[in-house]
């Protein structure tokens, strides 16, 4: 029976991290930023059915980049965690911080104990209640590293460039249309193509909504927010109405 090769722990961690980073870099990027009424999430995602951005709970949204089946797994686990906690205690006891810590533990364990690390990064964001409510954004990496971000966050292959772009262009208290335009520009910063509404997945946590703050922005509304309106301006005023959350 051949003896297994000795690999030093440093080398093993380095290899795993490189493997995970490569997997994530292959995928398309996403970003989130605070605007006047909450948090906006924009992802480059040509699929209209397989989402990168989703609702977790009343004030909490989730976004993932990298391998779809892996972050989808984390998303469903997050919804379960939130629903069980909200049912056992109270809806307001479900917080992004607890969820982000759970993700951090799970990813950290998988990274150190598993043969193959998850090739994902996830973002957990929570919109504050009321006009002065404080938003929270947690960015969790493939190895369980957790960071809390201020004002904006970016993940995926071009995350560094997007973050640099947002650092220069982000302003506090932006209106929704401005925020959407900035977000889409940020995603194209390293590419010399324009993204149309069909390449984008956009959702937001709007603190002015009742209980469930999460809302997806459909193509028609996105077009008018981007100022590429073709007369369908009526959809732009839908910001206040209430289509069922969680639906594409």
């Amino acid at each position: 029976m051949p003896l297994p090769y000795y690999v030093s722990p440093e080398q093993m961690m380095k290899d795993k991290a490189e493997y995970a980073r490569k997997g994530i870099a292959r995928g398309r990027s996403m970003m989130a930023l605070e605007y006047r009424d909450g948090i906006l999430l924009v992802a480059e995602n040509p699929s209209t059915l397989l989402h990168k951005i989703s609702e977790i709970y009343d004030r909490i949204a989730f976004a993932g980049v990298g391998k779809y089946n892996e972050f989808e797994n984390l998303r469903v686990a997050g919804v379960r965690h939130a629903d069980i906690k909200g049912y056992s205690y109270h809806r307001e006891d479900v917080t992004a911080k607890a969820l982000a810590n759970a993700y951090s533990q799970a990813l950290g364990n998988i990274f150190t104990e598993g043969i193959k690390p998850f090739e994902v990064e996830v973002l957990v964001v929570e919109v504050g209640e009321g006009p002065n409510g404080k938003n929270e954004m947690y960015h969790i990496l493939y190895d369980g590293t957790i960071e809390d971000e201020l004002h904006y966050a970016a993940m995926g292959g071009q995350a560094d460039e997007i973050r640099r772009f947002l650092k220069d262009h982000y302003r506090e208290g932006m209106a929704l249309a401005d925020a959407v335009q900035l977000g889409v520009r940020a995603l194209t910063v390293t590419q010399n193509k324009t993204l149309t509404e069909r390449d984008l997945e956009v959702a937001l946590l709007d603190r002015n909504r009742e209980r469930r703050k999460f809302r997806r922005i459909a193509d028609a509304e996105l077009r008018s927010l981007l100022g590429r309106g073709d007369g369908s301006g009526g959809d732009g005023s839908r910001a206040g109405d209430r289509p069922a959350a969680g639906k594409p």
Binding site: L49, H51, S54, E55, I56, N73, V76, V79, R80, D83, I84, G86, Y87, S88, R242, A244, G246, K247, P248
Partner: protein
């Protein structure tokens, strides 16, 4: 006999799928947090015999009803919970929003009923978030039937839960009403239904007054008539109470969603019903 895995391939895969297939919050809660799960029955405790002083003394919700009108359904209930011969609670809410297009009204033992409504709400929301799309109205009605069936052992001990489930079916474009029995039997009503201790009286009233395809204001009026009758005939049901300012709760569900009937509207309709009866009585007294 070949060595190796004794299970056929598909069974192995089903095991792997197991964790990812269930979108039912009820199943997850039972598996992961059994302590938070409502007990099906209380062990070591037997039901009081029928000739003892009646069923277990717990607050009970009394009259609830649902009726279809032109744009959807109205779901309503009185506001009293009764415990034996006592008023347990004057302002209990018996009609809950289940999701954007459906409502659950509860009658029976108040504690388990409210818990079931809460679990049902979470179940629907959980499914919608995990799957990205909500259940069909029929699917929701069936899920509720399963939950009532799970409660059967407790129902045999006297903790009966019999809700009405009503909603707007977006595919069919109409309001629908489902009633249940304690075994989880699910039956659809096409016009109206009422249950609880004053349910029979409310149904009698609706039988005389109901017209299909009525307007919302007529529907609210009929609901008020039925609930006032239930309160007159059934001691457990609370009528409109101008002294404490308590009026029945009424919700409507239409294509655009779930909406509460404003209290001012409920109050004016109830007052109109009471005024018409006062008028009829005083005229009867004069002519008699």
């Amino acid at each position: 006999m070949p060595l190796g895995n004794p299970y056929p391939m598909h069974e192995r895969w089903q095991g792997l799928f197991g964790n990812y297939l269930t979108t039912s919050f009820v199943d997850i809660l039972r598996a992961q947090s059994p302590e938070a799960f409502p007990p099906a029955a209380f062990q070591g405790w037997s039901a009081p015999s029928l000739d003892a002083q009646g069923p277990l003394l717990v607050p009970r919700g009394t009259t609830i009803l649902a009726l279809r009108y032109l744009d959807g359904v109205i779901v309503a209930g009185d506001r009293q919970a009764t415990e034996g011969y006592q008023v347990a609670h004057r302002r209990i809410e018996k009609v809950y929003k289940a999701d954007d297009h459906s409502a659950i009204a509860i009658a029976g033992a108040a504690g388990p009923s409210i818990e079931m409504a809460r679990l049902f709400q979470t179940e629907l929301e959980h499914y919608e978030k995990v799957e990205g799309d909500g259940l069909s109205l029929e699917g929701k009605a069936n899920k509720l039937a399963q939950m009532i069936r799970m409660n059967l052992p407790a129902a045999m001990q006297g903790l009966v839960v019999v809700p009405i489930f009503a909603g707007f079916d977006l595919k069919r474009g109409e309001g629908r009403i489902f009633k249940y029995d304690i075994t989880g039997g699910r039956y659809e009503e096409t016009e109206y239904y009422a249950t609880g201790s004053g349910g029979k009286d409310a149904r009698t009233t609706l039988k005389k007054l109901y017209r299909s395809g009525c307007s919302r204001s007529d529907g609210v009026r009929m609901t008020a008539e039925a609930l006032v009758d239930a309160a007159e005939e059934d001691v457990g049901t609370g009528g409109p109470d101008p002294i404490h300012g308590i009026y029945p709760s009424m919700k409507v569900i239409t294509r655009t969603g779930f909406e509460e009937v404003p209290e001012a509207e409920v109050r004016s309709q109830c007052d109109a019903v009471l005024a018409a009866r006062r008028e009829a009585n005083s005229q009867g007294a004069k002519s008699g």
